[in-house]
């Protein structure tokens, strides 16, 4: 204990502590505790202790000259305060600040702190106006997450006059556990128990397959020669569990499914993935080749991210991932790991990509949820703040601008929030003279792990995400991303890439080394490595733990033996850790040793192809939906108020304030930002970014997601997602023939089980969503280039199951030849004419209006993409030829929010006659204003070019809806009578307030 130096840094009295003020505000608004004042301190514990003179120097250096004061031990403060809360990490939790502090101290003092030394950081909050009990509540519910952090709450006297706290969260050093052998010759019940107790997430069928394999192969002479007996080791079982996890193998998307629906003969689908996703892309690839002679699909499905051709110099790489379960437990850590984790996917594709932009999207329960939160779950406001702050820090510190961001709220996301994070990369067409999309890992190449060290963090992440959340979910499953360590690793690896120092690269993500090396080994045909060489954060890890740990910021590369010295030397120079773990072989085995002793000896064939396909049944019983009860048409004044309240709903409101905490223009390639318009406060339809400095080619990003349409039909949900993503990129000016998409499924558990009675229905929803996805993509010519599925988005708390609505996120990436010709939803001038394209139908089911009214809305919006492709071509042509001044794809909320946003963006008014809207059927006033019918665009056009636009839209259902006017009012009429006459400013008031809550995201950690 005494061999520790404590240094405190605090704001000098007289200087404002903005962090303290923000915490005070959140205590008041979130917890309703009338705290009077809060000040904060940063604490650094250095072990082993520094000399008194050294400690003083460090305290001075860390404090700086003016606003802060540093002290060894304790900063003097006359107080009086009431309560002091200290928050530090638990042992073994990543402490990036401590790591940087160590570097600074060593350079400042000009000496190494020595092996085993560490700097541990913590924070102190001094509070006035609260008692100890309130202090404990503030600590637990706002300042700390006890899964990863330790809390101490003291009264002021004990803190200020008691002994100085010198405790540090050092990981207790233990001896390395022995490798266990696990006998699988046991009853079925015992096998199932084994899987549960070891968190293997393997089914009985899978365990039997493994048992049968060892019955056959256990006596193999090669295995005996390697020193292993007939039963599997813990490392082998863990390795199989990770590799065969739902997370890694997508067993449900690859299952054989018997699909039944009323009035139709049962069908068998052999893998949803192969049939509807890869099948769609293969068809489209053939179509592209027939039309263009070559395909722009460069690499799809078999690598970490999809690759499309973009310019003569670069391909584009795109991947979107989810990080739901960890974000539910530790919102900040889970989310930052989500974003820096998905960064590694494009980075680890082919021979590696530079990262150009990030996207994010979250599904939460309302941050204003006032019902009791079940034990084991966090309040959605806390989840929201933590997730935002995590992705903000992860993206900003990595120097990657975000291009798109969205939020969606529904009470069912209480059980599991959805945290989507994605990254676009830029891959040179060739690297060191070779095609960059191809890895060339050969026997004899060295297996080199680069980046962070291995700890127990993140063990069982892959199997954990493949299991539902319970009160006992393991804390080991939470990792905390460290963007700076990763950024330094990426900088180094790009240098190594361009010098041709490695032949293949992949990410250490789910499953850790077992997955990364296991997957890379498939190309050369084997791998042999020794885990004892791997750098550890602390001693005492069992070999199996080293093998499957998901400790972050690591990549695995294959380095040709003749480049190894150069590679390792460059890593040393760049202060990046790189370790030679072994070599790739061609003996067909995944051979893992620990200090020379074999701990895992599995044929690659069994590891990768031994998994028996799942057999499942899906039964579709269309959920009934009642038509929407007709609401009487309101008078314009009443309707003005209703419209204001509607626009202020969480699912329509602006989140600009928090969105601007994400950098969106680092790299200097951003053209159309997340928020556009005269005051930069209206969300754009799509992002437009340059690919390279000095050139005008660009890419366009947008997405579509409609979770609540699944309540009626997941088919419609999927189609609407594709349709909106496509309309949005077209509205921005993208080429129609260069749109690709990613599919991210987040589903409630579709596997049958005693506590999951409607699994067959959820599986039927999965089938229908996949069919809808395929149909729309085929009709629009949009290949699916990458995707991911997350199948356990349920929480079972106290016997109650909370399942999310089945959600498919469709993320489009498209090309534009010249970013200077991009279009947004902001028009130029009063007098511009407003066109609507596409029919409006009585489609209010699953819409925001039906949710606002709290009633069934009838059927959900349906797509006829085969009919709409020609329409989109016409619209896209008009936009790209410069006929259109503004373009907008109406989405959630329907026409009224779309018109509001166009008016707001231009700081103009709109006068529109809804009688002009092309219709299909007989939509009433509510449908005209709020139906979310797909296939529609709003376009604005200078008066003198309207005739030309009309000609271009010949044969396409469209109409002049109205015009932009100088006074900032939204005037809608219907049946010759005014329907709405409202000031745009007034409509915007609630829309701007709901989510732009000042406290949200302010140090949301």
């Amino acid at each position: 204990m005494s061999d520790v130096t404590r240094i405190e840094i605090a704001m000098r009295s007289g200087f404002s502590d903005s962090r303290g003020r923000a915490v005070a505000r959140r205590i008041r608004t979130h917890l309703g505790i009338p705290v009077r004042d809060v000040r904060t301190r940063d604490v650094y514990h250095v072990e082993p202790a520094l000399s008194p003179g050294e400690a003083e120097r460090v305290a001075r250096e860390f404090a700086g000259p003016v606003t802060r004061v540093g002290a060894v031990g304790r900063v003097e403060d006359p107080g009086p305060w009431d309560v002091a809360i200290s928050v530090g990490y638990r042992p073994g939790v990543t402490d990036p600040v401590g790591k940087s502090a160590r570097v600074a101290i060593e350079d400042l003092l000009g000496r190494s702190l020595g092996p085993g030394a560490a700097v541990y950081t913590s924070r102190v909050y001094l509070l006035a106006g609260v008692d100890l009990e309130q202090g404990r509540r503030i600590a637990r519910e706002l300042l700390a997450n006890e899964i990863i952090e330790r809390i101490s709450v003291l009264d002021w006297d004990s803190f200020a006059r008691g002994p100085v706290d010198l405790s540090v969260p050092r990981v207790a050093v233990t001896t390395v556990p022995e490798v266990e052998t696990i006998d699988l010759e046991r009853s079925d019940d015992d096998l199932v128990r084994l899987s549960r107790e070891r968190l293997l997430a393997l089914s009985l069928d899978e365990l039997r397959t493994i048992r049968d394999f060892f019955r056959r192969a256990g006596d193999d002479p090669a295995r005996r020669a390697a020193g292993l007996g007939p039963a599997p080791t813990d490392a082998e079982l863990e390795c199989l569990a990770q590799t065969w996890s739902e997370h890694c193998k997508h067993k449900i998307m690859n299952a054989r499914i018997r699909y039944e629906e009323p009035g139709a003969a049962p069908e068998t689908i052999d893998s949803l993935f192969r049939t509807y996703i890869r099948g769609t892309t293969e068809q489209l690839d053939a179509r592209i080749r027939a039309r263009e002679g070559a395909s722009w699909l460069v690499s799809v499905f078999h690598d970490n991210a999809g690759v499309i051709a973009a310019t003569d110099r670069h391909h584009l790489v795109y991947k979107v991932e989810t990080h739901n379960s960890p974000s539910a437990l530790d919102p900040y850590g889970g989310a930052i790991t989500g974003i820096v984790g998905v960064n590694r996917d494009p980075f680890g594709t082919g021979l590696g990509s530079e990262l150009l932009s990030n996207v994010w999207g979250y599904c939460f329960a309302s941050p204003r949820t006032s019902t009791a939160i079940p034990r084991g779950l966090l309040h959605p406001r806390r989840i929201r703040e933590g997730v935002h702050q995590g992705v903000i820090d992860g993206g900003n510190q990595s120097g990657i601008p975000y291009a798109r961001g969205w939020e969606y709220f529904d009470p069912r996301f209480l059980g599991k929030p959805l945290v989507f994070c994605g990254t676009v990369g830029r891959m040179p067409v060739t690297v060191a003279g070779r095609p960059a999309e191809r890895k060339r890992c050969r026997p004899g190449d060295r297996i080199v792990m680069v980046g962070g060290r291995i700890g127990k963090d993140g063990i069982h992440g892959a199997t954990f995400s493949s299991a539902e959340l319970t009160e006992e979910s393991p804390v080991q499953a939470v990792q905390i991303g460290d963007p700076i360590t990763q950024k330094m690793m990426f900088d180094f690896l790009l240098e190594a890439r361009d010098r041709g120092l490695y032949s293949a690269i992949t990410d250490n993500g789910a499953g850790g080394l077992s997955s990364s090396v296991g997957e890379m080994a498939q190309q050369p045909g084997g791998a042999r490595m020794d885990l004892a060489r791997a750098p550890l954060k602390y001693q005492g890890l069992a070999p199996w733990e080293i093998l499957v740990s998901e400790a972050q910021e690591r990549m695995t590369v294959a380095v040709p033996p003749d480049r190894l010295d150069e590679f390792l030397e460059l890593a040393r120079r760049r202060e990046v850790e790189a370790t030679d773990l072994g070599e790739f072989t061609d003996d067909g085995m995944f051979h893992v040793l620990h200090d020379g002793r074999t701990v895992c000896f599995l044929p690659l064939e069994f590891l990768h192809d031994g998994l028996p396909p799942m057999e499942l049944t899906a039964r579709w019983s269309p959920p009934g939906h009642r038509p929407m009860p007709v609401a009487p048409r309101p008078d314009p004044a009443t309707f003005g108020q209703q419209a204001r309240e509607f626009l202020a709903r969480e699912n329509l409101a602006s989140n600009e304030l928090i969105a601007r905490q994400y950098d969106h223009e680092v790299k200097g390639l951003t053209i159309v930002r997340p928020f556009v318009g005269r005051a930069g406060d209206v969300p754009s339809d799509a992002a437009v970014m340059q690919i390279e400095h000095g050139r005008w080619e660009g890419y366009v990003l947008a997405e579509g997601v409609f979770p609540c349409y699944s309540d009626v039909d997941a088919w419609a949900m999927a189609e609407a997602g594709v349709d909106l993503a496509v309309r949005r990129v077209l509205a921005a000016g993208a080429r129609f023939d260069r749109i690709a998409a990613l599919d991210n499924y987040c589903w409630p558990d579709p596997l049958p089980g005693p506590d999951n009675p409607d699994a067959e229905h959820k599986l039927a929803q999965l089938v229908r969503a996949s069919r809808g996805l395929a149909r729309a993509c085929l009709a629009y010519g949009v290949p699916l280039i990458s995707g991911k599925d997350s199948m356990k988005n349920d929480a079972v708390i106290g016997g109650m199951r909370i399942s999310i609505p089945p959600t498919l996120l469709v993320s489009a990436i498209a090309l534009i030849e010249d970013v200077r010709r991009a279009v947004t939803l902001e028009t130029r001038a009063a007098g511009d004419v407003l066109f609507v394209v596409g029919e409006t139908r009585d489609e209010l089911g699953g819409t925001e209006w039906a949710r606002a009214r709290g009633v069934d809305g009838g059927d959900v919006p349906r797509c006829t993409p085969e009919d709409w492709a020609a329409r989109y071509r016409a619209v896209s042509g008009a936009i790209r030829d410069g006929l259109v001044r503004a373009a907008h794809a109406p989405g959630r909320g329907g026409l009224l929010p779309a018109l509001f946003q166009m008016a707001r963006a231009a700081r103009l008014g709109i006068e529109a006659d809804l009688d002009a809207v092309p219709v299909d059927g007989q939509p009433g006033w509510e449908a005209l204003a709020f139906a979310e019918s797909c296939g529609r665009f709003l376009l604005s056009c200078a008066p003198e070019r309207c005739a030309e636009l009309e000609r271009r839209l010949d044969g396409v259902p469209h109409a002049v809806l109205g015009r932009f006017v100088e006074p900032q009012v939204l005037r809608l009429s219907l049946g010759g009578e005014p329907l709405l006459d409202a000031e745009v400013d007034g409509l915007a008031a609630g829309w701007e307030r709901t989510l732009n809550d000042d406290a949200a995201g302010e140090d949301g950690r």
Binding site: G64, P65, A101, Q397, G399, I484, D491, G668, H693, R820
Partner: protein, 274 residues
Amino acid sequence: MSAGRYGGVRVLIPTGFGLNCEAETAHAFRALGAEPDLVHWTDLFAHRHGRRLADYDVLVFVGGFSYGDHIAGGLVLATRIRARLLDDLRAFLDRGGYALGICNGFQTLLRLGLLPGPDAPPHDFEPRADLAPNDRLGYRDAWVTLRVEPDTRCAWLRGIDRLEVPSRHGEGRFVVADDAELERLERRGAVVLRYVGPDGEPTEAWPHNPNGSRRGVAGITDATGRILGLMPHPDAFLHPWHHPRALVSDAPEDEFSRTGLAVFRAGLEAAASR
């Protein structure tokens, strides 16, 4: 644009440790005809790069998150530079070199004591001011308008009166001991850039002033006028279409011709004519 004119100006852009604006900063110099060297700090520390700092005319501290802004923005990097490269830096300054620090680079220059620096050369590397967390806590990315102090002797701002650029930081509130000290710095001509409101006057009000700096301070120069540090990012406004209003303009090339390149051009011009 005089492509050939700045070809001989030697520009050094150190990289690494979480800095992340080197690509756009390098492009700004290239667009003006200079050929900057991008060199990793570790190679400068180890003297592995063929040239020393003093061989350069211009040294750029780019934006980013060196060491994640841990402890305080720019602190860890400045501590390392001070420990490993102080003599080289001194030689560079003694030779009359020009330095620019943007955002994290500004924070680093402040921690190194180069800004605001002593009232007269030579530099003593004594920190005298902080860039504290924004008054309204948190990072924010939004465009701001800056006014250049009239008659400034700062080489990087010669001929510029106004700049529209994005501001992107969480720690940008310039703080000195008290208002008297700030006034003294103003009299010395150290304050060269201020956030202005819609009326064109310096402001302390969010969002036009994103961090609450007293009297709208956004950029500082040293006693020689050869070093400039500023929080907002001229490196993110490289061509007219970077401006958020360009796509709705009928003539963006005219309307938004005053890009952030002006700062780099002024620095190159000064370096070229010395």
